[in-house]
């Protein structure tokens, strides 16, 4: 047991239970904090925040629409920065974080280039075409970099493309099919990351994609429960949501149990189930006053079941619960 990594929370519990005295715990805590990789932490923080600020500055610079600057100068500057990012990424190598961030920066600069190009030549095309072109052009870098943050950025870009398409063109998408398409896109990305893309298996990526998939599928499914047919919702909408819940259960409770993912699942399932029960209870002709009390008790019961299941899973995984 003593060969396991020491944790501050455990150290504090040891002190609270009298296994260590106050001064021993304080001394061990200070030694533990000092042994943490603070340099690596500062390195990552400066790299990420610095890159974000620099890229934001570049975006704002071109958004200013400099009249004194010629079109070739503007496009040349962006292309130069883009080429520099790719050159240094190649020099550094894509297996290092710096290389991955350089490719991500290049991917952002493609969007800046397309926006400035549209601004200069006033092509008259809808905004969705710019996002679509941006999404397509960066595909090779997304594939090559193997960087979860870039993939998430790319998926977000696909969302923006579809949403701007629906708002500017619409046909053949309505509210229901837009939500279903986005939900399935997120679910497919999650399924791929869990099966064939091991470098995508990070908890934060899993959390974002699972949340996005369930929210996109749950919104129309909830409308269907409350008012079938609203905004084009059908039984298929509800079935798609239930299939996503079943898939997530199989993946994160049976195949590879994961507590944060199961927590997201539980919250979504509780809301879905309570919407269905609430619809049944409040649209009936029962005693309305008692219905409020009964529904309150059902809410407590449903969430208790979810928390009990999560605690059992936590014990199974040996995580704190």
């Amino acid at each position: 047991m003593l060969d396991q990594p020491a944790r501050l929370s455990t150290l504090e519990t040891l002190a609270a239970e009298g296994v260590l005295d106050e001064s021993q715990a304080a001394r061990a805590g200070a030694a533990l904090r000092a042994s943490l990789p603070w340099g690596k932490w500062a390195d990552r923080l400066l790299l990420l925040v610095g890159t974000l600020l620099l890229l934001s500055g570049i975006v704002f610079f071109f958004a200013y629409n400099w009249e004194a600057m010629g079109r070739f100068m503007k496009l040349g500057l962006i292309e130069g920065a883009l080429a520099a990012c790719l050159f240094f990424a190649w020099r550094v190598g894509l297996e290092r974080l710096v290389g991955k961030i350089l490719v991500t920066s290049a991917s952002v600069l493609v969007g800046v280039f397309l926006a400035v190009f549209g601004q200069i030549y006033q092509t008259g095309a809808d905004a969705w075409t710019m996002f679509a072109a941006w999404s397509v052009l960066v595909v090779p870098w997304v594939a090559a970099a193997r960087f979860p943050a870039l993939v998430v950025l790319w998926i977000a870009l696909l969302h923006v493309t579809l949403i701007t398409y629906v708002s500017q063109v619409g046909d053949p998408f309505d509210f229901n099919s837009t939500c279903l398409t986005l939900g399935m896109l997120n679910a497919a990305a999650l399924a791929l990351s869990e099966t064939v893309l091991p470098w995508m298996r990070e908890r934060w990526v899993r959390g974002i994609l699972l949340c996005a998939a369930l929210v996109c599928l749950q919104i129309p499914a909830t409308w269907f429960i409350i008012e079938p047919g609203h905004d084009g919702t059908t039984v298929g909408t509800l079935l798609a949501y239930l299939a996503a819940l079943a898939g997530a259960w199989a993946a994160y409770r049976i195949r590879t149990p994961d507590l944060p993912a199961l927590s997201i699942w539980s919250l979504s399932a509780c809301v879905g189930l309570l919407t269905a029960i609430g619809k049944g209870m409040f649209s009936g002709r029962g005693d309305e006053v008692l219905t409020f009390f009964a529904f309150g008790m059902i809410v407590v019961g449903v969430f208790t079941a979810a928390v009990t299941m999560l605690r059992r899973t936590a014990r199974l995984l040996g995580e704190s619960a």
Binding site: A6, A28, L55, F292
Partner: protein, 329 residues
Amino acid sequence: MTTWTTLLEQVPGVDTSRVEAWLSTPREHAHAPWYLQAITAVGAWIAAAFFMSFLFRLELIDWNSSASFFVWGVILTGAAIGVARRSGSVFLGQLALTASGVGQTLLLVGVGKVADNWGAVALTEVGLAAALYFAYPDALHRFLTCGVAWGLVVGWFVEQKHGEWLSVLVGVQAVTLAGLTARSLRPALLPLVYAFAAALPATVLVMQLWPEGSLWPPQAILGGWLLWLCRWAGAGGERRDWQALAYGAVVALAVFSTPGILTAVGLLILGFGRQDAFLTTLAVAFLAVFIVLFYYHMEVDLATKSWILMASGILMLGARAMLPRWSVS
């Protein structure tokens, strides 16, 4: 990663066999992960809304009678304490949390109706939070009541347009956080640390969005807190050059940034130093918010702003390039 063996070797007089025996015994941890606690809280809040509707629809509470608010508030809060202290069941625990939420809300509305004063409501909740911290031994309940008490106090100060009182609140929060985390933290006090850690950036956010007072007092207080955190982080180490670098960076941040950025960086240090996912998540979220606010509120045109942003980015990347190699490896 430092193992227990390596760590305990640095502390004289430790009975390692006792520590090993303790670590080998399987036991329930004192606190569930924060996301599990969040689900419990969501359930309790939804249920509380329906129970409250039930009480009003049954006309057990008369809107015109503050006494009925007090009576039901005391009954429900008392019942919640009794159930929470005696029962180990998840269902009853969830029910108690809900009852306590309803009871406290009724009590506060009752106080508000009698006193017609936000300050009285806020101070009542501060008193309730302090009393319930001992009476209701549940981590989530402690976090939520402290958080609600903070929210009401801030609301009171904003309503009174007392910006300087908000600065005092920031000072109290920073000093309390430092005091609580300076030595070995008792697990029972962890919810208080979380509540203060969430309240501190939220208070600063309120100050930056509705500036009723000068921002230099919180800037100075938080600069001092950040310096203390640097010392706290490296207290057990031997690299004095690393600490000097950190102090320099803090002074530069305190001079050129905002209280919000200082708070978020402080929470990042606290989160990493305590290896705490909740604090780190909180810090990252608030850092993003405060960086956006910092540049958004600059009273310069877009072109100048873009230059400042690019210069800030280059400065950070330059600072990274100058980090001593030993510190990164």
